[in-house]
């Protein structure tokens, strides 16, 4: 860069120097010789006038004399051109001089001159001739010739100094070029380094220049652009991080596919469902990652129609997760369209939907069963069974039992809806757990006795009192114990225990009953949910017991947890918080 600039400047300077000397040469060369030749001519003319032809005897000495003074060869030529005297050569053998240019000029104008190259001497010769007249009659001509040695050497001298000056000029221009190129290149070099650092992504400040010419403006512009660029970068980064935070923190799963249909982004919430490292999915296809035929079909539909597609798709392995999946296009540059897939988890929604439809179906079913029995027996009575007192009594007993069951069902339903609606007013008081348990056990003893189930109460008497509504608390224990006794085979055992733990009291009711399969546990507490549909109804349950317990525990600020092993038994843990007085 610098050398290049230097050479350019130097070259232009040299061109100027050379050009000026060339012009000088053109002007000077002819001028010098012309002036000098003119001077010599005048001098020789002057000497020519001195030639005296009056005395032919002393002619030779005279000529010698003049030749000596004028430093020239003097030749006398007569009117016909014949040489009759010469200062240097013998006249014999000399050719006719009449047609020499200087003689011809002299014949016409009185005097003449000519510069010719003399092959004998090897230099330019100046010839001048003057006519000699005698009363209008041409007597002859005087010709003086002198070699132009002086002129040539003078011109050479001048040229020598010219060349010397030229060399000095070139040298000066070299130095000047060096200086200027350095001065000019310095700010450019600074900017060059600056932009290089910028290109390499190294931290840069701004350019500071001490110059005040155009480079300064350029540097200012670069500084401005860099600042602008930094701002743009910062903004873009901020936007990106905002977007990434939004994408990663929302519950919805997001997948972005690049134009080759490979995964470019996958939100962590989805990665959790897919159980794998987030990085593993990058660059894979949708099919490779999700292994889901439905999703692939939805994707193909989208690819074919290019219209947004929404589907509900079951994902996941052990526990299926239902996702509402929608595919749409991310607008980008032509040929860089991406596909965004948003997964919205609707498992809970679906579950609630199912619970609601189940509930309606269950209520009608639960009500219809006793009603069918009641109507059937009433019809039988109407058709004549009334007349047979023994049958009639049995039928009426059954009708009463079924009506009681209906009543129980309606009461349970009312309780649960009241709790859910928050219409139940609880009268909180300090309740001693052992007191409540004793009264509950009195209720349960008869039922347990029939099945020969022993109920063991291990609750320590000195346990901390809890804040609760006594009646509701009784209901909770009755429901849980009723279940325990109901689902424990004859000769089994039910154990009650309590301990203080984590700021509350945990009451456990464990039995040695049939147990509950793992996947059913989380559905317990749903209204009318029964693990074993047929058997439970035979045992006279309404399917609302645990649901009521769950809700009552929630209104007490506690919770219910169930652990179970099929065939071994079930353990229900009830947690009551202890509030600081």
């Amino acid at each position: 860069m610098k050398r290049n600039l230097f050479l350019k400047i130097l070259f232009s300077y040299l061109v100027i120097v050379c050009l000026s000397f060339f012009v000088l040469h053109l002007l000077v060369r002819d001028q010098i010789s012309k002036i000098m030749i003119n001077g010599i001519e005048q001098e020789l003319m002057h000497y020519a006038q001195l030639v005296d032809l009056s005395s032919p005897q002393t002619m030779h000495e005279h000529l010698q004399q003049i030749s000596k003074i004028s430093k020239s060869r003097v030749t006398l030529v007569d009117g016909r051109g014949i040489v009759f005297a010469d200062s240097e050569k013998a006249i014999v053998g000399l050719e006719n001089h009449l047609y020499r240019p200087e003689i011809q000029q002299a014949r016409l104008r009185g005097s003449g001159k000519s510069v010719r190259y003399s092959s004998t001497l090897g230099v330019n010769m100046l010839y001048i001739a003057v006519i000699i007249k005698d009363g209008g009659k041409i007597r002859g001509y005087v010709r003086l010739s002198r070699p132009l040695h002086d002129v040539q050497s003078a011109v050479e001298k001048v040229y020598q100094s010219i060349i010397l000056a030229m060399l000095i000029g070139a040298l000066v221009s070299l130095v000047v070029a060096l200086f200027f190129s350095y001065r000019l290149a310095a700010p450019i070099r600074t900017m060059e380094e600056f932009t290089q650092r910028l290109r390499d992504g190294l931290p840069v400040g701004s350019i500071r220049l001490s110059t005040s010419d155009e480079t300064r403006t350029l540097a200012d512009n670069i500084n401005y652009l860099v600042e602008e660029l930094k701002d743009k970068f910062r903004l873009a980064n901020e936007e990106k991080s905002k977007l990434m935070t939004a994408l990663t923190s929302i519950n919805e799963g997001v997948v972005i596919l690049n134009k080759e249909d490979r995964i470019e982004f996958l939100s962590p919430s989805l990665a959790g469902i897919l159980s794998g490292q987030y990085v593993d999915f990058l660059g894979k296809t949708l099919l490779e990652t999700f292994r889901n035929a439905e999703l692939q079909k939805a994707f193909q539909t989208f690819k074919n129609t290019r219209r947004n597609v929404s589907r509900e798709i079951a994902l996941g392995m052990a526990e299926s997760v239902i996702m509402s999946v929608s595919l749409s296009e991310v607008q980008g540059l032509p040929g860089e369209e991406r596909i965004m897939i948003v997964f919205h988890n609707v498992t809970r929604l679906k579950k609630l939907e199912r619970i609601r439809t189940d509930f309606v179906a269950n209520v009608t079913h639960e009500i219809r069963t006793p009603l069918t029995a009641i109507i059937g027996y009433l019809e039988t009575l109407q058709e004549g069974a009334l007349d047979r007192p023994q049958d009639a009594k049995r039928f009426i007993d059954i009708i009463l039992k079924q009506t009681q069951r209906l009543n129980r069902l309606v009461e349970d339903l009312m309780t649960i809806s009241k709790i859910e609606l928050g219409e139940v007013t609880l009268h909180f008081e300090n309740v001693l757990l052992p007191d409540v348990i004793v009264s509950v056990l009195q209720l349960m003893e008869a039922k347990a006795g029939v099945k020969k189930i022993s109920i063991e109460n291990r609750i320590p008497y000195k346990i901390h009192p809890i804040k609760a509504d006594r009646d509701r608390l009784c209901q909770v224990f009755v429901n849980v114990l009723d279940n325990a006794v109901k689902f424990t085979p004859e000769g089994g055992q039910v154990t009650l225990d309590a301990e203080e733990k984590a700021g509350g009291i945990v009451v456990t009711i464990s039995d040695t009953g049939v147990g509950i399969p793992r996947e059913e546990i989380q559905r317990l507490g749903e209204r009318f949910y029964r693990v074993d549909k047929t058997r439970s109804r035979e045992l006279g349950g309404t399917g609302l017991g645990l649901s009521i317990v769950k809700h009552l525990m929630l209104t007490h600020g506690g919770k219910m947890e169930i652990e179970s092993q099929p065939g071994r038994g079930t353990k229900v843990s009830l947690f009551f918080p202890l509030y600081a007085e």
Partner: protein
């Protein structure tokens, strides 16, 4: 397979399409098994009917994939790993198609079982479903990634499924001995369990083929102990 690139981009695409098709087929069969087992545990006859209907798609995809493989064999005349890849793919589609048929078998049994009260709550069968579903997924994963270790893991898993099947068999036997009226239902459940066990066998078959594809050695008729 993953890193290698063929000079012919088209050929490369054809191979990738076969791979994608196999994964898709695998996903379909896995869904079929899960749905069939769900129809049994949820007593959902409608779902079982859908599994039987959807099997047509699996069959169609199987023949389609096989045809494409044969076309590649004829037109491209693959050698070395590509040849093993194509032959493996043909065998895998066969396995997957059979798995689909077994899902249909299970769905048919499920329809019959749903007509009668449930014999017992299913505990081991759902476990089996998860394990077998995982095996199919893993075997195809090992195929896609040419992962020998994963193929080996699938082969080991097969023993676990065998044991589970044995356990279910013994349990059902007690039900049958208890009450002869249980025999029909118990036999149906037993067939479901047997079908699951055979699906696991097919998954192992896929894993064997993957080992063949990667190493070129046949491990089909060896047991795990012999391999060690």
């Amino acid at each position: 397979m993953e890193e290698k690139r063929h000079t012919s981009l088209h050929y490369e695409k054809e191979l990738q399409a076969i791979k994608d098709g196999l994964i898709f087929l695998g996903a379909l069969t896995e869904t079929a098994i899960r749905s069939a087992m769900k129809s049994l545990s949820d007593r959902d006859t409608e779902l079982a009917r859908r599994v039987i209907r959807d099997d047509d798609e699996i069959d169609r995809l199987d023949t389609d994939l096989e045809e494409r493989c044969i076309k590649i064999l004829a037109l491209r005349q693959p050698t070395a790993i590509d040849l093993r890849f194509i032959t493996t793919a043909i065998k895998i589609t066969g396995h997957l198609e059979r798995i689909g048929d077994m899902a249909v078998n299970i769905a048919e049994k499920s329809i019959l079982l749903n007509e009668e009260p449930q014999l017992k709550p299913y505990i081991d069968l759902p476990r089996m479903t998860d394990l077998v579903g995982g095996m199919i997924k893993d075997s195809l994963d090992s195929f896609v990634k040419s992962d020998l270790a994963q193929a080996e893991q699938v082969r080991r898993m097969e023993q676990v499924i065998d044991d589970l099947n044995e356990q279910i068999f013994r349990e059902l036997l007690t039900f049958m001995m208890e009450d002869s009226r249980n025999i029909h239902r118990a036999l149906l459940v037993m067939q479901v369990s047997k079908n699951m066990e055979r699906i696991a066998d097919h998954a192992k078959g896929i894993a064997d083929m993957v080992t063949y594809m990667v190493t070129g050695t046949c491990v089909r008729h060896q047991t795990c102990e012999m391999l060690e």
